[in-house]
């Protein structure tokens, strides 16, 4: 009987808060307000936690969930009458929804460690009671468990149980109740989720809870969210000066709920309030639009990185060597298939497979590239149109080889776990990790290639041969070997691009074909023989594409980009960054 008055006090307190208690009063009351949580250790029938943990943890997070499993014998000890579960059980069996509401209220404020499970089951329609002896049970499928002990009632018959029905207002009460209980969880993630859930539909009562909890919340993000919740409640129910203060407080928030509240406020009669609200709203929408641009830019850059990756190998073979390699797409495809094969070889180490696949793909595609150069392209230097046809033939052969040897269908390439997930900047901007990695990877590959060409002996020889073959040979450069290595380098980069593409697109025999035209566009747009041009062209084409997409649609955007490049080439036939000097002559 000892705690019943306390429960009643809490019920009346929440009723008081519901009726629109001013913020100041709430703050003044806050010491009392801590009762639901501060009282929890007392209310729990289990023994209190050791003193040490109590000190190390703020009281807010000290919840029944943290206490060890109750001993089976502790229920008689707690006494049948004072046990909140028993009271709730009796009330829940009543048909009247008012009594059920009362029961749910008691469960929420009881601090009992089973309360959350009960509420959860009730919300999901899994809470049943026995028609004769009133035992409360969880029923899921054919499994019936005692709601107190969690033991399975093997001999129980489902016919004897009746479901506890709920209505909509009860559902709402349950959701906030569960969220409030979760708010006191020791697990940061659970608390963060609970706060997020509460922000959707905030009422003064929960706002009061949030306010008290915010003072002791150790995590700054969660605390900020809690304070946001308090301000949002004040927007709804506070006095005009409070509402103005709250508008000030939420003016930087991007939460959709804030916008709803502000929208409602901007329709208000009070001119000052309406003006402040619409100004804040404008400010927020401005920021959202800005983040929208940032997102488009991010999508564009990630698409652009894919284009750059696909094109950069071509920039070497086409740009530096003047060879039209129509089999470039198939070299990309080989890289993607190498990734698949590596994953087949080490199915238990998918997370690490990419690190092995990158060098492997470089070697495989590079080797095939050198083979192509030595057998075919070597004979066709200086006849670019013929190279185009011959390498196109090679691309057909490689495609058909993959179809015949592996499968005409797509093969499944899995993503390592560290690539999935998102980086959430705020509630309107979330960046997917795999796109981030693609951008990073593209820049890395570009930097590596740039270093090879500008800092190594091979790079020097490559540039020498491309600028003046005869002179380079006279200086002792073995031009045939340099040709083979350059082509191998370009092909190897294509293979590395294939590893990246295997993570974001379907890996099949047609993979290369779908990228070859885009790659050529990037190289031509950027200016042949210029790596920087390729980078700038690829990234900007990606961004242009994504900017056009919202109002033109994906296909039309692509068509527009193609038409744009065709027209651009008319204006500047040598691309964005034309090669200067004598080497550019032909």
């Amino acid at each position: 009987m000892r705690r019943l008055p306390l429960l009643l006090l809490q019920a009346s307190l929440s009723g008081l808060l519901l009726s629109g208690m001013p913020v100041q009063a709430q703050e003044k009351n806050s010491p009392q307000n801590t009762t639901p949580t501060a009282e929890i250790p007392l209310a729990t029938p289990t023994p209190a936690e050791p003193q040490a943990t109590q000190e190390s943890r703020p009281p807010a997070t000290q919840t029944p969930a943290a206490t060890p499993e109750p001993a089976p014998g502790n229920q008689p000890e707690a006494g049948a009458e004072t046990d909140p579960l028993t009271q709730a059980a009796t009330l829940l069996q009543d048909k009247s929804f008012r009594n059920k509401t009362e029961a749910v209220d008691r469960l929420i404020t009881s601090g009992n460690e089973h309360a959350r499970d009960w509420l959860d089951a009730l919300l999901k329609g899994r809470l049943y009671f026995h028609k004769e002896n009133g035992t409360i049970a969880f029923v899921s499928g054919s499994v019936i468990r005692d709601a107190r002990s969690g033991d399975r009632l093997a001999e129980a018959n489902q016919q004897d149980f009746r479901k506890i029905t709920i209505n909509n207002s009860l559902r709402k009460q349950l959701r906030t109740g569960i969220a409030r209980l979760s708010l006191s969880s020791p697990d940061t993630a659970v608390r963060a989720r609970a706060v997020d859930a509460m922000l959707g539909s905030i009422d003064p009562e929960t706002a009061a809870t949030l306010q008290t909890l915010a003072e002791t919340e150790p995590d700054p993000d969660i605390r900020a969210n809690m304070q946001l919740g308090v301000a949002m409640a004040a927007l709804n129910t506070g006095t005009v000066p409070e509402q103005l203060a709250a508008i000030e407080a939420v003016a930087d928030s991007l939460h959709p709920g804030v916008r709803n509240h502000l929208n409602a406020l901007s329709q208000q009669d009070d001119p000052q309030l309406a003006a402040a609200a619409s100004q804040a709203l404008q400010h927020i929408e401005e920021r959202i639009r800005l983040y929208g641009y940032a997102e488009t830019l991010f999508f564009g850059l990630s698409l652009g990185s894919v284009l750059v990756l696909a094109a950069i190998g071509l920039a070497i073979t086409f740009g530096v060597m003047g060879v039209i390699n129509m089999a470039h797409g198939e070299l990309i495809m080989l890289g993607a298939y190498t990734t698949w094969m590596i994953q087949q070889l080490m199915p238990n180490f998918i997370d690490y497979s990419l690190f092995l696949a990158i060098p492997a793909a470089f070697l495989v595609s590079g080797a095939v590239g050198i083979l192509i150069e030595r057998t075919v392209i070597r004979h066709l230097y200086g006849r670019p149109l013929e190279t185009l046809l011959a390498t196109f033939g090679i691309s057909l052969i490689l495609q058909q080889a993959v179809r015949t040897l592996i499968s005409p269908q797509n093969v499944p390439v899995s993503n390592p776990s560290w690539m999935s997930g998102t980086l959430e900047i705020n509630s309107v901007l979330a960046l997917t990790l795999n796109r981030m990695y693609i951008i990073l990877f593209c820049l890395l590959v570009f930097a590596a290639l740039f270093m090879v060409l500008s800092r190594t002996r091979l790079g020097l020889q490559v540039r020498a041969v491309s600028q003046n073959r005869a002179m380079a040979r006279a200086m002792g450069v073995r031009s045939a070997r340099v040709d083979a290595l350059t082509f191998g380098l370009g092909a190897g980069i294509a293979g590395v691009a294939g590893v990246a593409l295997s993570q974001i697109t379907n890996v099949g025999p047609n993979l290369g074909q779908s990228y070859i035209i885009d790659s050529f566009m990037v190289v031509v747009f950027g200016g042949v023989g210029n790596l920087w041009g390729t980078l700038v062209a690829g990234l900007s084409l990606g961004v242009i594409n994504k900017v056009l997409e919202p109002w033109a649609g994906a296909v039309l955007a692509k068509i527009l980009v193609l038409v744009f490049i065709i027209l651009f080439i008319q204006k500047r036939p040598r691309g964005l960054f034309p090669q200067k000097g004598r080497a550019a002559g032909d």
Binding site: L388, A390, R403, L556, I569, Q570
Partner: protein, 371 residues
């Protein structure tokens, strides 16, 4: 008199003479063989007639490509697009001819428009119920596109590989565009389910033979026209442009004008080929715009021998016959073979089969002289 002036360009063109003679014989013989009773040993089934007709339209397309590649040095990877545009123009006429015999029975709208819930015919479909208008569009649609494209490109002196790549981008962009339902050309499925042309059922043997003969005439006419161009003064200029563009310009010729007009003419020929192709195969869809198709045309020309015109016909017929045979016998091997053809021809047969024959002849003559 007219005939002699028409055939004048054939003087000294042994390959062309043989080719046209064979074509004339085929145009006479094929209908006769087809009309023989079904059990007869020499009877030619109608599907074979249609197949041959299809080859002839490909040959005309190859001639068009050879004109710009062989004599003007423009490697167009977009002629498939002109072919397909001509095909679409013809397809639109054939669609309108269906009338209310479609699945939905709408007398005004083709089936796919009814399916897309369109209320009225888009403006660009007007006039296609008239054959003469469709025929005009068959040449105008590819012609205008080629003119605009050529006017822009050649004036800004985009040449060589760059030109090839942007022609490829052109056909790729068109393919993407025609795949869209909103374009009003049947989207993915294209135009199909044709019933009749000029009131004759497309299923009838006689219509098929007529289409075959029309294709033969178109090919002969196209060949003679191209031959006429390349043997005239105009042709000499084009060859000069091909071999030394800057020098020709410095001599005083307006290179871009020559290029634009020859390119446009070639695109119109390709459009006519497409228009004859569609009623024979019974469908036109955006797949015809695929860059692969355009490159394939180039390889027909390369195999036959560029800058000979009759070589283009030879290459188109041979490669397509091989394609039919191989895709029937060993479907997997065709792409290997086609790929190998690309490589072998560019490496070892830069003059194509026509060049090979010329070489053989020279060796024989040289050998005789020695003996």
């Amino acid at each position: 008199m007219l005939l002699t002036s028409l055939l004048k360009p054939l003087a000294g063109d042994r390959g062309g003479q043989v080719m046209l003679a064979v074509l004339a014989v085929a145009a006479l013989l094929v209908p006769i063989l087809n009309m023989l009773p079904a059990g007869h040993a020499l009877h030619m089934p109608t599907y074979m007639v249609t197949l041959l007709g299809k080859y002839l339209t490909y040959a005309l397309l190859a001639v068009a490509v050879d004109l710009v590649w062989g004599y003007l040095g423009i490697l167009s990877l977009g002629h498939g697009a002109f072919f397909a545009l001509g095909g679409y123009a013809m397809g639109m006429y054939l669609m309108r001819q269906i009338g209310d015999r479609g699945v939905y029975g709408n007398p005004e709208l083709p089936d796919f428009m009814v399916f897309l819930n369109w209320q009225e015919l888009p403006w660009f479909w007007y006039g296609f119920d008239m054959f003469w208008f469709a025929l005009m569009m068959v040449m105008l649609m590819p012609g205008v596109l080629a003119f605009i494209f050529g006017w822009l490109t050649f004036r800004s002196r985009v040449t060589g590989v760059y030109l090839s790549i942007i022609t490829q981008a052109l056909t790729y962009a068109l393919m993407l565009a025609f795949f869209r339902n909103e374009m009003g050309f049947g989207g993915n499925n294209g135009l199909t389910d044709f019933k009749d042309i000029l009131g004759f059922s497309l299923q009838a043997d006689s219509t098929r033979i007529a289409l075959f003969i029309a294709s033969a005439f178109a090919l002969a006419g196209g060949y003679l026209a191209c031959r006429h161009i390349v043997t005239s003064r105009l042709g000499r200029v084009t060859v000069a442009i091909r071999d030394a563009e800057s020098r020709t310009r410095f001599v005083g010729y307006r290179v871009e004008d020559y290029k634009v007009w020859i390119f446009t003419f070639s695109a119109m020929l390709a459009g006519i080929a497409g228009a004859l192709y569609v009623p024979q195969v019974g469908i036109i869809n955006p797949g015809e715009f695929s860059p692969l198709n355009s490159i394939e045309i180039v390889i027909w020309v390369a195999i036959g021998g560029r800058a000979t015109l009759y070589g283009a016909i030879l290459g188109a017929l041979l490669v397509n016959y091989a394609k039919t045979v191989f895709t029937g016998l060993m479907p997997d091997s065709w792409l290997f073979l086609l790929g190998a053809l690309f490589v072998v021809v560019t490496l070892y047969l830069p003059q194509g089969l026509a060049g090979l024959m010329r070489q053989l002849k020279q060796i024989r003559r040289f050998g005789r002289a020695e003996a």
